[in-house]
Symmetry: C2
Subunit: 408 residues, 2 copies
C-alpha cells in the first residue's frame, strides 16, 4: 500500500471474532505483485445473506450473479479477487466466476449459488481461470487469518485497511457485528469501486436482513462520493451466521432488532467514512449538510451536487472560503431553491444568509476551520424540513497524479 | 491573460464589421488590475434580440432581468462587466444593474429594458455602483474598438480572446455574422460561466431569432462541458441589427433563413469549441460521440456522462487508452444500455465490441491517437438510432492549480 492517507484512523481497530466466520487469504497473483490478493471467507451452515449492488448498467458478471444469488438468502462462502475486476469481459468473465463458485461449492459441499464472488481492479481483462483456480485452491486450505489481513487483501489502491465493529444486546445474547471495506476511487452513489462486507453472529431472517442493509446503506455507502464516478462492480454484502443463538429475528418489531440495526448502521457508517478518508488524493474529509429543503430526497440531491462539484472540492483543497461556489452548486442541482432564502456556512460560521453575505462577516474563524482536516459545509434552503448529510473529500493534485498515471 | 492554452487557435480570426454594431471598452477597475473590464456595445435602433440563460436556480440579477428583457425582443445596448459576477448579491446587486441600465438608456435615449447587462467574476460581492457609473461613463464616450479588444475585455480567466465569423446570402444581400465569447471554467450545460454574443446585420423578427438561437445553442454551447459545474451568470445573446437591408425574415421557410441559421450555427459551434479549448488546465480537446442510443436525448446524456467523468478525463490527460472507464461512464448514465452490445473506440480504432475487447487488439495506433491534442472517443450502444456529440477537455494538474489557488 502507498503512503497512508492523512485522514486515516490511527490504527486498524480491534474487531471481534464472529462465530461462524473464518477468513483465509492466498496469492492468486492477478497482477505482477507479491501480496495476497484472493480472500476466502467461510460461513457456517445456516448463514443468511443480503446484498446491495451497483446501479451501473455495465456491471460485472459477479454483480449480475450476486444479485440473483442473494434472492436465495443463503451464503456459505465469499471469494474476493483483487487486481482484476473481471468487468466487461463477457462470457469469458462469467465462466471464470462460475468456475470459482463450483470449486468452492465442491470443497464445502454446498450449492454454487451459496458462494459469492466479487472482483475489483482493471476492467476488460477476463479473470484468468488458471490463476483463479490455483489461488482458490491455496485459499481453501490456508491458515485462518486476522481481520486486518483480510481487509488488506481485498484492497487495491487503498492506502490503509478498513474495519469497524459494534455490538448489541439481542434477547439475552450479546451479538457482534464486524465489517471490512475497500475502495478509494470511483466512489459515488450508488456504490462505487467499493466492496464492503459486514458480518454478524445474530440469527436474522433474510427478508429482515435485506431491509436492514437497504436502510443502513442509504445513509452510509449511498451517501458518500469521491469523484462522482460509479463502478461496475460495487457490492455490499451482509451475512448473519446465527451462531449467537438468539431467537431468529424476522421483523423490526422483534425485541433486539432495533439494537442490531443500530449496530449494523454504525458499522456501515464508519466504513463509509473510512472510504472517503481514503479517497484518491484526499487531504480533507468533508461533511455536507443540507437543511430546509422541500424533502429529504431533494436535500440529498442538493448535498450531492455540492459534494460532487469540482469547484467546491478544489476550493476546499485550497482552504478557500469560496461560498459562491457552494451557491453555484445548490443552484445547479435542479432542485427547488430560492436564492434569496439561501444560507451557507463553513463549520458553525454562517457566511451568507437570505441571499447576501452576512453583515460584518469575519473571515478569520472560517479560515481557521478550513485549515483543519475535517471540514463541514452547510446549506440551508429555507423552504421546508428536508435534510440530508453526505460525505466527500477534496479534489487535489494527488487525485490527478493517481488517475492520470494509472495504466489500464 | 495567462499562458495561452496549447489548444488555442493560432490567432484571433478576422471578424467583419457588422453594420449597426459599435464596440467600446473602458476601465471600471472592478478588480485590482490595469486592464479594460467594461464593454459597451451600441446597437442601431431596430435591433432585435434573443437570449438563452443559465438554468442555475441561484442566478444573478443580470440573468433574471435579461430573461425578462428578451421577451421584448428589442436591444439597443450591451454592457459587460468583467471581474465581478454580481451574483448572490440580493437587492444591492440588482440596484447596480438597474443603475447601469438607466445610465445607458439616458445616454442613448432608449428604454432601460433595451439595455442588456452581463457580469462575470467572483460571486457574492455587490457590483460597486461608483465604479460601474464611472466605467460606463468612460465607455459611453470611448473610441470604438476592434472585435479582438472587445473579446479580451469580456474575458476573465480566459487565456486567449475568442471570436468567430460567417456569412450567408439572404435575398440579394450578403449578410454577416460575428460572435465573441468568454469562459474557461464552470462550463457545463446548460451554459456555464460563459458569456457569448453573436451579432448579425440581417433583419430578423424576434420570434425567429429565438428559434434560431435555441436550436443553435443546443448543439453548441449546450453540448460542451469543462467541469460539469454550471455558473449562475451564463448568457448567450443574439442581436440582429437589420442594417443589411434584407426583407425581414419571420419564419424558417423564408428564402435565406436556412442560410442565415447555418451561419449562426457555425459561429456558435466555433465559439463553443474555443471555450473548451480554453478549459481550465486543458491539454487535450476531446470529442465524445455516442451512437446507437434509443434516442438523441439519451445519447446526449450518455455522452455527457462520459465527458464529465473525472476518471475518463484524467485517463485522457495521461494518454491512457483506459476504455474500461468509458464503459463505466456509459453504465452510470442511467440510460438504456446493454453491456454486451456496447462498442468503444478511440479515434477510428475500435477497442471493444459486443462487451469484450476486440480480438487482436493493437494498442499502438490507439496510443498514437491519444498522444495528439485532439482526441475522439466513441461509444456505440447498439440499441437504436439516437446519436449525439459533445465536447470537453481533459482534467489535469492545471485545473487543480487554477481552482485550488483561486481566492474568493
Amino acid at each position: 500500500m502507498t503512503t497512508r492517507s492523512p485522514l486515516a484512523p490511527a490504527a486498524f481497530p480491534a474487531l471481534p471474532d464472529i462465530a461462524g466466520v473464518t477468513r483465509r487469504v492466498a496469492r492468486a497473483r492477478y497482477k505482477e505483485w507479491d501480496r495476497c490478493d484472493l480472500t476466502f471467507v467461510e460461513l457456517a451452515p445456516g448463514t443468511t445473506v443480503a446484498g446491495v449492488f451497483t446501479r451501473n448498467v455495465c456491471c460485472s458478471s459477479e454483480v449480475e450473479l450476486g444479485r440473483e444469488q442473494v434472492k436465495g438468502g443463503k451464503g456459505r462462502a465469499l471469494i474476493v479477487n483483487a487486481g482484476n475486476s473481471n468487468a466487461f469481459t463477457g462470457y469469458r468473465g462469467r465462466e471464470a466466476v462460475e468456475q470459482i463458485m463450483a470449486q468452492v461449492a465442491g470443497h464445502l459441499g454446498c450449492e454454487p449459488s451459496e458462494v459469492f464472488v466479487c472482483s475489483t481492479g482493471v476492467i476488460g481483462v477476463p479473470l484468468p481461470k488458471d490463476k483463479a483456480r490455483a489461488g482458490v485452491e491455496a485459499a481453501l486450505t490456508a491458515e485462518p487469518c486476522s481481520w486486518e489481513a483480510t481487509a488488506e487483501t481485498i484492497g487495491t489502491t487503498d492506502t490503509f485497511p478498513k474495519g469497524s465493529a459494534a455490538s448489541a444486546i439481542v434477547g439475552d445474547q450479546t451479538i457482534h457485528v464486524a465489517g471490512i471495506v475497500k475502495g478509494s476511487g470511483m466512489i459515488a452513489p450508488d456504490m462505487a469501486t467499493m466492496l464492503g462486507y459486514i458480518f454478524t453472529d445474530a440469527a436474522v431472517a433474510p427478508a429482515l436482513l435485506r431491509d436492514m442493509l437497504s436502510e443502513a446503506t442509504s445513509g452510509s455507502f449511498n451517501s458518500i462520493t469521491v469523484d462522482s464516478d460509479t463502478s461496475t462492480s460495487d457490492t455490499v454484502l451482509l451475512f448473519a451466521t446465527g451462531q449467537a443463538g438468539n431467537a431468529v429475528l424476522t421483523t423490526r418489531d422483534d425485541p433486539g432488532a432495533d439494537a442490531l440495526y443500530a449496530a449494523i448502521r454504525a458499522v456501515a457508517l464508519d466504513l463509509a467514512h473510512q472510504v472517503v478518508r481514503d479517497g484518491e488524493g484526499a487531504s480533507k474529509f468533508i461533511e455536507v449538510q443540507v437543511t430546509g429543503a422541500t424533502s429529504d430526497d431533494s436535500a440529498k440531491r442538493v448535498a450531492l451536487a455540492i459534494a460532487n462539484s469540482p469547484l467546491v472540492k478544489t476550493a476546499i483543497a485550497g482552504e478557500d472560503a469560496n461560498w459562491g461556489r457552494v451557491v453555484m452548486a445548490v443552484g445547479k442541482a435542479g432542485e427547488p431553491a430560492d436564492r434569496d432564502r439561501l444560507a451557507i456556512r463553513f463549520g458553525d460560521h454562517w457566511v451568507a444568509k437570505d441571499g447576501l453575505p452576512v453583515d460584518g462577516y469575519d473571515e478569520a474563524p472560517v479560515a481557521a476551520h478550513l485549515k483543519g482536516l475535517e471540514i463541514r459545509v452547510g446549506a440551508d434552503l429555507g423552504l421546508g424540513d428536508g435534510r440530508a448529510t453526505v460525505w466527500t473529500c477534496d479534489l487535489t493534485h494527488g487525485y490527478i497524479s493517481i488517475n492520470a498515471d494509472y495504466r489500464s
